[in-house]
């Protein structure tokens, strides 16, 4: 994603990268980052938390105005839960001794539902 942001910025379009994986996004050095310390898959909020989602996106867009130089990072003061127990669970599943959760590198479309395939491909 950082490559996309850097390219658009180079073409004169300001960009804001939302992010939940701070180390990965910082390594790519995009122009601007708004960080949300939520589990992956929730970059702009918890499911059905409309107020939270709106605030996160609002803050991200505001950074387009407030950030005055490259590589600024806004750390939003939000936490997923009070204990942070989800982080230990992420390490348990995704660290040494966990399993590779990536799907096989299949070259055919991977639909969310069988009905989606029928609607898209007629079969």
């Amino acid at each position: 994603m950082s490559l996309i942001a850097r390219h658009l910025e180079d073409r004169g379009i300001p960009t804001m990268c939302m992010a939940s994986a701070l180390d990965i996004i910082k390594a790519g050095r995009p122009p601007r980052i708004t960080f949300v310390d939520y589990p992956l898959g929730h970059t702009v909020g918890k499911p059905f938390d409309q107020a939270g989602q709106l605030d996160i996106v609002r803050r991200g867009l505001a950074g387009l105005v407030s950030m005055t130089h490259a590589e600024q990072v806004e750390m939003l003061s939000r936490s997923w839960d009070e204990t942070g127990v989800w982080k230990a669970e992420e390490w348990r599943k995704g660290g040494a001794g966990g399993k590779d959760e990536r799907r096989p590198r299949d070259g055919t479309p991977q639909y969310q539902t069988a009905e989606d395939r029928i609607l898209a491909e007629g079969r």
Partner: protein, 161 residues
């Protein structure tokens, strides 16, 4: 509490499984920086989500370095936005509420509030888990850049999975 070190986590996982290390991007040079040249309330905002979002009826993404994009009109009902992404383990909540990674409702609200001038008519998605940085640069990025140029956007929000 400190953010999770995902690169170390994944490095340790792959080592324990005997896999080759994942090749994350490490940019060697500072990024370009372009200032917004007008108030946000006068800007047309574009958005790309690298979550593998597609509209029901469109072809889903495949999981072998798919460098294609999908055009998702901003008026698309959220229940018509589905996902295919190589890391499906992160998709359960986005599949219940696409706004977790494709914040179309929030963008529509900010447009209605006048916080942004306008949300571009077409939003975009792509697949984030592309291994080949060369193919990202040569195939995906030119396509996305042309797509945003066609939408005449003033700024872009990027949302990873």
């Amino acid at each position: 509490m400190e953010p999770i070190e995902y690169m170390r986590m994944t490095r340790e996982l792959y080592e324990s499984l005997g896999h080759q290390p994942y090749g994350w991007l490490h940019a060697e040079t500072p990024p370009p920086f372009t200032r917004l040249n007008k108030p946000l309330s006068q800007c047309r905002i574009g958005m790309v989500s690298t979550s593998g979002a597609y509209v029901v009826g469109q072809q889903a993404y495949h999981y072998r370095d798919d460098t294609s994009i999908r055009v998702i009109p901003k008026g698309t009902p959220t229940d018509r936005i589905h996902f295919s992404h190589i890391t499906e383990n992160y998709l359960p909540d986005p599949r219940r509420d696409p706004n977790c990674v494709f914040p179309v409702d929030a963008l529509r609200t900010l447009e209605a509030e006048g916080v942004v001038g306008e949300v571009a008519g077409d939003l975009f998605s792509c697949m984030g888990g592309i291994y080949s940085q060369r193919r990202v640069k040569e195939e995906l990025i030119p396509m996305l850049a042309d797509a945003f140029a066609g939408q005449n956007v003033d700024a872009v929000l990027l949302v990873p999975m």
